[in-house]
Symmetry: D3
Subunit: 163 residues, 6 copies
């Protein structure tokens, strides 16, 4: 039987830390579905379509990865996609507690889906989408922290704002 | 002398974790005043009146519990009500630091009022009002996590929104 | 009914942080039993008898405090003494997790006994019996951190070792 | 290709929390090797042979689980056994940091082996081999916290000590 | 060569905890530039001009302190001012992780600038600008927690709102 | 006036993480005294003389660094050496709390000496003397984690033990 994992997130935008988790996850699962959570209540920099486009371009070299979006309950989405695992990356203690509570709640909602944690590579431990956006906004060098396509999109976005 | 404790919170809405803390607290105090903090600056799902109603229905079987609301400084309210203790539940490390700072500030404001911490039962360790609301919003099963009356109010609320 | 709490610990030796917790606890309970855990497997600086003597001298001015020692399970001891609560002080996040696990285990062993946490006063937040012993050993000034009797015992102890 | 994970530990003795992690892991891997770390420098209650026996009896109903022991570097052992993952359970923030450092060090020693974290079920969050041993020593009720065979071994061990 | 440190923050308003860090920092550096981060996206109680005025009045007795404001990247500002260090105060574990990530990101942006951490004095461990504002809003006593000038400004601000 | 900092530790043995902190510290201080704490009660792998020798060889290329050892109270040693600061490296949350308590105690013992924290470079975040020793013991590759001289000493030590 095929082992499928869902890797949920905002990906606003995707960073090299996310790519690293996906790459590690592909050693454990036959297929990974990268699932953008569509949450109309939360303000985002990029639209779901833009985020999907950047993810697809960044992941073009990987087989067995699918990019999708969903709204509603994560466990419902995972069940619908026949996933047996939810994949999560961890960078820090503060991530841990929130992830812990979420994993326990998701387990209560569906006992058959496991939450699996991988630890982000050392080089990505200090980056997050929001730190990247803050740096890019003021012209900080983000080479090597995001895929090339994301860098271009960020520059375009901030140029528009400046105009 | 009667030992009174104030149990402050948003209770938006009350969960079984809150009920558990109240039940434990009644072993230590003669009376517990459940005090809804009215904070006009913070957006809530339920009005103070709705929250009060749900609390009263959920606590109907307990003696020595009073439901009230307040605004302003907690220590002023506690002093006015002749309470000698502020009751707080703890679930996680991240709760701890914030609670710690608050307890030290409250102690500075009134040395005669103690902050007393009880630990939430294992079954309630991963639930919070906001996780419950997220789950209920998309039809996740919240049986056993909130009092029956809260479940009905949540379903009514989300049905209204959907219409 | 009398409200009794057990305040367990090594008290090797008692510090002003412990005294502070006892004083706060007396606002909540009718009686506090300070219970030295006798653990032959753990090396201590002072014998149980010495620790008991220092506690009694330090607490001479408090009514409703009893000093005792016990071995075996804490919940068994608490039940035997008709205590309805176990009193614990907290100073830091690292205390929290261990205390949390212990409180959950003790609850499993006896559901009728509550663990109650109080937060140590700001002045005692950085002291522990072992930091005090380290400082005293090399002649560091510990005035105001321990009761007078403990200071004398520590000096006597280190003078003996030096001879 | 067969997906093998190594689940290393002291298992002194195995608890129901360990069994829970193994059961969850079997949803993700084709085979799990439970590997007792033999560390002559660390004092243990049970010998490696006793620990192996208890593990085998506790896991008799699971297919695809092997019980083994090793000394030396974990990554060397994992490589030798053709494992692509190291399986670890997490219960608390304090576990997290140590596990984190270990995972980063192991990754440095062998980049091809992933450390995979699963979160212990709510019921096992407060138990550890050492808390179990402390409770069992003084006759505390450990039903449901360890496999039946471990309970018998613990009682036998403490009866011998008492004689 | 002159050793200059930048001490960045919102200072909305400055507290005695900030003053304490500046005073300690002056033992280590020849000059400290207190730099208000101007962030139009974040709502503040006081304008940058008001914050600057309060800082200047509070720091009137210190030599070698300059009050300034900046927008954009902190490392760019520090480089422009010939600072070799960024000064930060720490009060709690939750501060730590965020500070840690920021320090690593800033180091990536400019390797020649060190982030230096000092620990806030015990008396200031529980205060923050936001806790002060909450207390002041409802007439809580904030004597000794903020400089005299800040107290006056806070009272004026809340009187205006009440009118 | 010359700015001197003491950098205390066990250095059993020195790692590249320690060297990194010293190098960063030299940007802030005129001189750093690396001070090995001699604690007869704590078992060490290398003697104070061996540790001193390895430190001196590893730091041969740095000016303004002195290697020394001390026993007794750190603040007494720092005062004697005319140091105005104690330098400490931090890697993790668990370091933080202990360091915090120590810094507060040291401040109480001598108000004129500041504890200054620097954050270890990303590459050293997961290494500690004990993890290095564990890896070296079983032939794990520690290239790049310790100075060359330490590597040789470790190999010699473990060869002796094996014989």
């Amino acid at each position: 039987m095929e082992r499928i994992a869902v890797y949920p997130g905002s990906f606003d935008p995707v960073t090299n830390g996310h790519i690293d988790i996906i790459e590690r996850g592909l050693n454990l699962f036959d297929k990974i579905i990268v699932a953008i959570l569509y949450n109309p209540a939360k303000k985002s920099m990029f639209s779901v379509e833009e985020r999907k486009k950047m993810l697809k371009e960044s992941l073009a070299n990987f087989d067995n990865v699918e990019v999708d979006s969903f709204s509603g309950l994560l466990v419902d989405y995972a069940r619908m996609r026949n996933a047996k695992a939810i994949l999560r990356g961890m960078r820090a203690v503060s991530d841990f507690e929130y992830e812990f509570q979420l994993a326990l709640m998701n387990r209560r909602l569906d006992k058959k889906i496991q939450t699996v944690f991988l630890i982000t590579g050392l080089r990505w431990i200090f980056i997050s989408s929001s730190i990247i956006k803050d740096a890019a906004k003021f012209g900080g060098n983000i080479d090597g922290l995001v895929p090339e396509t994301v860098k271009l999109h960020l520059h375009k976005k901030f140029r528009q704002e400046a105009e």
